[in-house]
């Protein structure tokens, strides 16, 4: 949205003159350009609009859609079976009362966090490269939160009483317990879903207007026009729009922190060793961003190739995201280390046992999968080659998401399976329903995603255009004449 192009994208002339160009054509000190290949704004419009305007849907899309929608059907069939029969169809049993349901919930909510991070936090940090991926990532947020919300909703057992969670007057004259972290979760996740949706839609309004104005058919004109709400790109409207965007970004930033913080409270306010530790809130947030970025990269690499967006979503953008994955991966590693250190330092034998049990007990395979995928795998991103080679980053990112799923599994299941009462220790194993529901949630996610890719603008055109260099803004030129004077000052 912002147009500090002269400070962000233009390289100072004297530096450019002195430096040899790197392999990718971008001088090493220059910022990643928002659009590669010297394209103009009409090219951006044409390229992005070409996808929803495609006269015929590609066959590959149909194939993917058939697979994902079949999985979605499986998902809802499993939910129906679960509701009709009871949560006993899952593998959850004493003492592991929380298992894949919660693991999947936390996994999907975490995936969603990258979208808000890209659209809100990176906006506040003036990271203009984010404009090429933010729409895509925000869509991912919303679809991931949809998948996430289903798991806790059905795990309450009698879903037809789920309205008891909402603070509405009911015939029992009772109110929800606002002191419970599970209720905080209801508020946090629903607020998050709502605000993400508003943010996503608001960002899309100018682009829907573009699609409306380019529409060839009455139907397209009608539906895109309905979504565009009569947007005409008026400067007076842009003024309020930008302010609203900034405010929503400023609100979404603490919101996204709070959501995974509150998810971590579900565990950490308890007294269970392995769950109750004070670093959980920032650790969960870092982990969420970590997995979310990994998912964005995993999806973006094939999407940019398939839809011809390589000049919009450049290797430079992917590289930056991989750097963030590396940074958040290190934060997660830091949290693992702190947990382990304090488990010893605190001297609490139960706490110590839980951590030894994780590393050496019956779930050691899950623990070491987690460590390998979350701490070791992202270390490949220290190498530029790994950061800039699409297949390598996809492999690493898929492994990161495997690791993040296992992280939630390790936290939830290993801590519960061996609690204070050794007589009830139990090795948890999932049932087929558990597995099918998890796979089914991927089906729902990809179904929504495919619909989004096909019918909506996948890249925030207006934001990309605003971030591109325009002749109008005076570029910051480090004037050569100034140099002797400065050199004098330095000497």
């Amino acid at each position: 949205m912002t147009t500090t192009t002269h400070t962000e994208t233009t390289m100072s002339r004297h530096a450019a003159a002195r430096m040899a160009k790197a392999d990718d054509g971008i001088p090493p000190l220059d910022r990643v350009p928002v659009v590669a290949g010297g394209r103009d704004i009409q090219w951006v419009t044409d390229t992005v609009c070409a996808i929803p305007e495609m006269p015929a849907t590609p066959r590959a899309w149909y194939v993917a859609f058939a697979v994902s929608s079949s999985l979605t059907v499986v998902f809802f069939a499993m939910i129906a079976y679960l509701i009709a029969t009871g949560v006993g169809v899952w593998g959850n049993n004493s003492p592991v009362f929380w298992a894949w349901d919660i693991v999947n919930f936390v996994f999907w909510v975490g995936i969603g966090h990258a979208g808000t991070l890209i659209s809100a936090i990176l906006y506040l940090f003036r990271q203009q490269w984010r404009t090429s991926v933010n729409r895509f990532a925000e869509a991912m947020t919303i679809f991931a939160v949809c998948c996430a919300g289903i798991f806790p909703a059905v795990h309450v057992g009698r879903v037809w009483f789920i309205y008891w969670l909402a603070p509405v007057p009911n015939n029992l004259a009772m109110w929800p317990n606002f002191r419970s972290p599970l209720l905080w979760d209801v508020f946090a996740v629903s607020t998050y879903a709502t605000v993400s949706l508003l943010f996503w839609y608001m960002g899309m309004v100018p682009d829907l207007a573009t699609l409306r104005d380019r529409a060839k058919s009455r139907w397209a004109q009608f539906w895109y026009g309905l979504g565009a709400l009569g947007w005409t790109g008026s400067a007076r409207q842009w003024h309020r729009y930008e302010k609203a965007y900034m405010l929503l970004a400023a609100l979404a930033t603490p919101l996204v922190l709070s959501v995974h913080t509150i998810v971590s409270f579900d565990f950490a306010v308890s007294q269970l060793p392995g769950w109750h530790t004070t670093i959980f809130p920032p650790y969960f947030v870092a982990g969420a961003i970590f997995s979310g970025f990994a998912m964005v990269v995993t999806l973006m690499v094939p999407a940019r190739a398939f839809f011809g967006l390589k000049d919009l979503v450049t290797i430079g953008h992917l590289e930056t995201m991989n750097k963030i994955i590396l940074a958040t991966g290190c934060m997660v590693g830091y949290a693992y280390a702190m947990e382990f250190f304090i488990a010893w330092y605190g001297g609490n034998p139960y706490e110590g046992f839980v951590f030894m049990n994780r590393a050496l007990g019956p779930y050691a395979w899950a623990y070491w999968t987690m460590v390998a995928c979350n701490v070791l795998v992202p270390q490949v991103f220290w190498f530029k080659r790994a950061r800039t080679t699409p297949w390598m980053m996809v492999v690493a990112c898929v492994l990161v998401n495997v690791g993040m799923w296992f992280e939630r599994f390790v936290i939830t299941v290993t801590s519960l399976s061996r609690d204070f009462l050794p007589s009830s220790w139990h090795y948890y194993a999932p049932t087929a329903v558990d597995v099918l529901m998890f796979l089914g949630s991927f089906g729902l996610f990809f179904t929504l995603f495919l619909l989004f890719c096909r019918w909506l603008p996948m890249v925030a055109m207006a934001e990309v255009k605003a971030a591109m260099p325009h002749h109008g803004s005076a570029p910051a030129i480090h004037d050569d004449e100034a140099e002797p004077a400065l050199a004098g000052a330095a000497g």
Binding site: Q42, T191, R212, R214
Partner: protein, 440 residues
């Protein structure tokens, strides 16, 4: 809905609403905007496919009030959430959970925070559209074919015909001097101003259908019915578990209920403190020997002066609980409830029940013992405790009504009563002694 239908046959001379100048670049737009601003136009606007940096200054757009709206909504959300949580959890439906206060601020912060954010976000989102006058279903600008580029790659300035300085010809000529790529007239033919009929009908039908669930719920809330609540899944009602007193083939004795393992003691029912719960203490070896010697020496025809509770035990002689004013008051209260009706408020055996029974000359009535009788005074407190617990002669046991602590409290109060009926001048505080001595 805004539609950009191809221009149709229009009624005669549609009204001119604005003049539209098209520009190719940001630079041209900015310089033209500055000139329009300086020329004193007030009702005009610029259109661009993205927010153009510097255009706010070039058009002298005043900062929007939106931040204030958002701030107010946020504060309202925070206060409302806190008040609501306080009212529901501490007033309307108070219940204790995990030892937390009913209104526990730390635990109320997460929800307050979320509601603050939610309402602020609503204010930012809906406030922006409301201040922008959106959604707008029809706009004559969109009837200009070239204007479709305004959301793609071209820049426009539109001067409203309602502006005081506007004149169709002069303004047009002046606009041409700004160097636009093109100038268009925006005319309002009034054709698309109304919503399409099918859309209106569709919306009405959806709205009417949306009313059905709330109406059904409202009806359910004000009517009663004899049918039980509808249960979608019956296995929640009829669960395959066993209840007490049912038969079961699972166990050899055919009963579903299981007896506890022999020697099981329920929590809080161990009662292993014999002094506290029985008023007895175990004799030491020396004492036992002494007792044996005394028994051997005693005259077998005389009944023993002191009856021991059981072999190897003796009645305790001091209270096994700490004495306090609190205990004394408790004892007084229990005594006046459970003992005084027969034994009298002073313990002299002349309680109202006894007095009445004697008046009625009930033959079977055994008058209660005065607690000041010498043989009662001589008894160890453990024996009193035993009497209170199990009763004696006509007196029933009070072990069920009075807890062990309460029985000891009653005994403490009995001791006080005995003292009060056997007081000496030395017991009276010196400052009230003259008063007593002077009284007749």
């Amino acid at each position: 809905m805004t539609t950009t239908a191809s221009p149709r046959e229009t009624p005669a001379t549609p009204r001119l609403v604005a003049l539209l100048a098209e520009f190719d670049s940001v630079d041209e737009l900015l310089s033209a905007a500055r000139r329009v601003r300086d020329a004193g136009y007030e009702r005009w606007d610029a259109h661009a496919p993205f927010p153009v940096h510097g255009l706010d200054d070039a058009m002298a757009i005043r900062p929007t009030r939106l931040p204030w709206l958002v701030f107010v909504a946020g504060v309202a959300g925070c206060v409302a959430a806190l008040v609501f949580q306080w009212w529901t959890n501490a007033i309307a439906y108070p219940f204790l959970i995990s030892g937390k206060p009913l209104f526990s601020l730390p635990a109320n912060i997460p929800v307050s925070f979320e509601v603050t954010i939610l309402l602020s976000a609503f204010a930012a989102f809906f406030g922006m559209f409301a201040l922008n006058g959106l959604p707008r279903w029809s706009n004559p600008l969109l009837r200009v074919r070239r204007f479709r580029q305004a959301t793609q790659s071209k820049f426009f300035i539109a001067i409203d015909a309602a502006d005081a300085r506007f004149s169709p010809e002069a303004t047009r000529d002046w606009l041409a001097s700004l160097g636009p790529a093109h100038i268009d007239e925006v005319r309002d033919d009034g054709l698309d101003a109304a919503l399409p009929k099918p859309l209106v009908w569709g919306a009405l039908i959806v709205a009417a259908l949306a009313l059905v669930p709330p109406v059904m719920i409202a009806k359910a809330r004000v009517t009663t019915g004899g049918q039980p609540r509808y249960h979608p899944f019956f296995d929640m009602d009829a669960q395959p578990n066993l209840r007490a007193q049912q038969a079961s083939h699972l166990f050899a004795d055919g009963r579903a209920a299981r007896m506890p393992v022999a020697g099981t003691i329920a929590r809080g029912e161990l009662f292993d403190d014999t002094a506290l719960y029985l008023g007895q203490r175990r004799l030491s070896a020396a004492e036992r020997q002494e007792q044996a010697v005394a028994e051997a020496a005693a005259d077998p025809n005389q009944p023993p002066a002191d009856v021991p509770p059981r072999d190897g035990y003796a009645w305790v002689e001091t209270l096994p609980v700490p004495v306090s004013e609190r205990l004394m008051l408790r004892g007084q209260q229990r005594f006046n409830i459970y003992c005084a009706p027969c034994h009298g408020l002073t313990g002299n055996g002349e309680g109202v029940v006894s007095v009445r029974a004697l008046e009625l000359q009930q033959g079977t009535w055994v008058p209660p013992t005065s607690l000041h009788a010498e043989h009662v005074r001589q008894q160890p407190v453990g024996q009193w405790f035993n009497t209170i617990t199990h009763g004696v002669r006509k007196m029933p046991g009070y072990g069920e009504q009075l807890s062990a602590e309460d029985r000891w409290a009653v005994i403490l109060y009995m001791q006080a009563l005995q003292r009060s009926q056997d007081a000496r001048p030395a017991d009276v505080p010196p400052d009230v002694l003259p008063q007593l001595q002077n009284s007749p």
